[in-house]
Symmetry: C2
Subunit: 156 residues, 2 copies
């Protein structure tokens, strides 16, 4: 995987730019531990109970891949100056469940950029993040708006 | 807090219906533990490093309140038949950071309801979830679309 050694500022980015992340395995143990803490429902906690649920088998809480995608973004080759900081998302959806043993990775693309109207030292960079499993099927799609420092706050 | 002892089906719900949750404290320890696992950036991990960041002090990863809100929804008095299961969100935003010691609770309202076009045994119920801190300031606003079983799949 290509890596960058320098952090990127707003001026170093452009719409259409793509980035990638390492991968991470979603073990049954991790799925159950996350669910026990944050989403304690039978279909996220117990294989047998999950069989008769809408998921028809153990599935991760959607907030588990959501959190894992954050880690993958931090570890990705996007490498924003100041870190990966978002104020919200226009979209977050889970097209299919994450199952025990799934290996997730991130493909990202910059889809919109603008300078902050109120804070000239910041740009708002919207990215589309697609988390894919080992079969290259999307398991989560999100479009966070990231705050990225500008090199030159006086630019138009 | 009022509680319901029976689970609710699609037919038991209506637009405008409100619900509440118990509260939960976001300790510095929990904020750092979540960040270490899912969002390992200095402003979520270390008080001193956080002071010179955009957050000007330790702040929880946004995905931490996101996960906690799921737990509060499960513990709320909404009590959906089949559990709280969502396929995605139209909106997710964090109007202000969550700080160590903040105590979060949920106020929810049903804002849209429709029967699934493809699965007559399900309704799609969109709720607006506002997570408030101990000063009643919103720290997270989200609008998940929940899948709720119908009592009568043959109804129009």
């Amino acid at each position: 995987m290509p890596t960058t050694t320098t952090e990127r500022y707003y001026e170093d980015l452009q719409v259409g730019q793509k980035f990638r992340s390492p991968s991470i395995e979603m073990t049954a143990e991790a799925i159950k531990a996350f669910a026990a803490q944050f989403d304690p429902q039978p279909f996220h906690l117990d294989e047998v109970a999950a069989r008769s649920s809408i998921f028809k088998g153990l599935a991760a809480s959607g907030w588990h891949p959501a959190a894992v995608v954050m880690k993958l973004l931090v570890e990705s080759d996007l490498k924003l100056a100041g870190g990966a900081i978002g104020g919200g998302l226009g979209e977050l959806r889970w097209p299919r469940p994450v199952r025990p043993g799934d290996v997730l990775r991130l493909e990202g693309e910059i889809i919109e950029m603008r300078r902050s109207r109120t804070r000239p030292e910041l740009g708002i960079v919207t990215v589309r993040l697609t988390a894919l499993n080992q079969a290259d099927e999307p398991v989560q799609i999100s479009t966070p708006a990231l705050m990225v420092p500008t090199r030159d706050p006086s630019a138009p």
